[in-house]
């Protein structure tokens, strides 16, 4: 058993036309046993930037707090909000700091920058960044998410089309992953608002 699969959970993010989507399941498990089905793995960084943290649940909590601390310090020193591109590098260096005793988290970052351009990125557990132009996936259902996304995603989707596409990508993958599921939540980030929706999913 890998520690990366101890609690289960998955996150996917995708670009659209002037928007991005980030979605995750809600399961918290202890190997085969489900502990909770309200464990949201996606956290706000700024108004228009979110981070998804699938992996070991204790490290989800730790990293969430560490990022909150470091983003607050950045805001106070710089007197401005952090850009998603900058935050991605913050994530990377935070993880690489623990190169030989890593956090067991593979983060996903999604947001709109100050010019309202969509940005997504994913990282491995020691901070290797992947700036994808289309979509990024992470967690125990990563390979299923790759299969779904590679088949369903297309460029320049509007917010509602992107919502439907990313929801189908996530729900389809969750049904074939034993360690993810038990509810799902999706956020569509647009220049003027963030649409947050809880999806009706299979609860098994």
């Amino acid at each position: 058993m890998s520690i990366m699969e101890y609690n289960g959970g998955s996150v996917v993010a995708a670009k659209g036309k002037n928007c991005v989507a980030i979605a995750s399941d809600l399961r918290l498990g202890q190997q085969a046993m489900t502990i909770a089905c309200n464990f949201d793995k996606v956290f706000p960084v700024t108004e228009k930037t979110y981070v998804g943290l699938p992996g070991l649940a204790s490290d989800v909590a730790t990293l969430k707090e560490r990022f909150r601390y470091r983003v607050n310090m950045y805001k106070m020193k710089e007197e401005r909000e952090i850009e998603p591109e900058v935050f991605a590098h913050l994530v990377s260096s935070t993880l690489y700091e623990k190169r030989f005793g890593p956090y067991f988290i593979e983060p996903v970052i999604a947001g709109l920058n100050s010019k309202d351009e969509p940005f997504i990125a994913a990282s491995d557990l020691i901070g290797c960044l992947n700036f994808a132009k289309d979509f990024v996936v992470s967690g125990t259902a990563a390979d299923k998410l790759f299969g779904m996304a590679e088949g369903l995603w297309e460029p320049d989707l509007g917010p509602e089309e992107l919502f439907e596409t990313v929801s189908q990508i996530l729900l389809g993958a969750l049904e074939r992953d034993a360690l993810s599921g038990w509810g799902a939540v999706i956020r569509i980030i647009t220049p003027d608002k963030v649409i947050e929706r809880t999806l009706k999913a299979r609860m098994d």
Partner: protein, 285 residues
């Protein structure tokens, strides 16, 4: 990496100094290997599509770019095999032999459901030294309806509408669940969700092709070529083409060149148009 290509083949205790006597050399023969690749099958109301990529590999090494994994058994049955290529080869030739014996005894081809049960018992016959092969059997049942049977290596089997197996199973199966079984789709006033198994041949071919191009994109063991077998009821000469048989496969739009051929091989005398094979490249760049 050893010559024979299995782990442990060249394991020997390291000598502290080159002039010192070497310790006993241990050899461990592993009878299995995994040869990558992926297969998938989808059935419609009066046809069945059985597809595979044509790459064969061990680890990161490509052995060949064209090694078919789909085999025409007769006019109504086609078998896709995936896993350990040597076992697959031996297993398919054994099936072929059993089908020939059946023909000599009964004077007709073995029906699909009987082939499925036979494959199951043949696999379970080697329960404690299994054929390391995942099989998907596709064809037409005795009512002429499309059918897919999928098997595990020790003979557990099930009839389904669609199934993916092999290296990219986890990439392809959720996509087929969504596009063939319409999972997670709900009807709206604008669009009624169709019932599974009612799709037309061109629609199914498009989805199967997309499955493999997607898998090629994200899985290193999948690629090189795509071979899609289509099992249908052959249209009688001069008669109006009906159902799947009416579809002109050559007219299927594709940016990548594809060939459409009559499929050969199998134990029966073949009827034209019963089993077709479509071939195309999978991303050679």
């Amino acid at each position: 990496m050893s010559v024979l290509g299995y782990p442990g083949a060249s394991v020997r205790p390291a000598a502290a100094h080159p002039h010192q006597a070497r310790g006993p050399v241990g050899h461990q023969f592993s009878p299995y290997d995994s040869n990558g690749g992926s297969i998938a099958a989808v059935c419609g109301s009066d046809f069945c599509v059985i597809a595979s990529d044509t790459r064969q590999s061990t680890g990161y090494n490509i052995q060949t770019r064209y090694k078919p994994k789909v085999f025409r058994l007769n006019d109504k049955a086609t078998l896709a095999t995936n896993g350990f290529a040597a076992d697959a080869e031996a297993f398919v030739s054994l099936i072929r032999q059993r089908l020939e014996w059946y023909r000599h005894a009964h004077g007709r081809s073995m029906p699909l459901h009987s082939i499925a049960r036979m494959i199951s018992t043949m696999l379970y016959g080697k329960r404690f030294f299994p054929y390391y092969v995942y099989n998907i059997l596709g064809g037409l049942d005795e009512e002429g309806k499309g059918a897919v049977y999928s098997f595990d290596p020790v003979g557990s089997y099930e009839r389904e509408f669609c199934r993916a197996a092999g290296a990219a199973q986890s990439l392809i199966q959720p996509f087929l669940d969504n596009q063939i079984m319409f999972r997670n789709q709900v009807s709206t006033p604008e669009r009624q969700v169709p019932t599974p198994g009612q799709m037309t041949l061109p629609e199914v071919l498009k989805i199967v092709t997309d499955s493999f191009t997607s898998a090629t994109e994200r899985h290193i063991e999948v690629g090189d070529g795509l071979e899609i077998y289509v099992v249908r009821t052959p249209t009688k000469l001069g008669a109006q083409a009906v159902g799947a048989a009416s579809v002109d496969l050559a007219a299927l739009p594709s940016a990548v060149p594809q060939t459409v051929d009559e499929a050969y091989g199998g134990e029966d005398e073949q009827e034209d148009g019963a089993v077709m094979v479509i071939r195309r490249d999978l991303k050679l760049d």
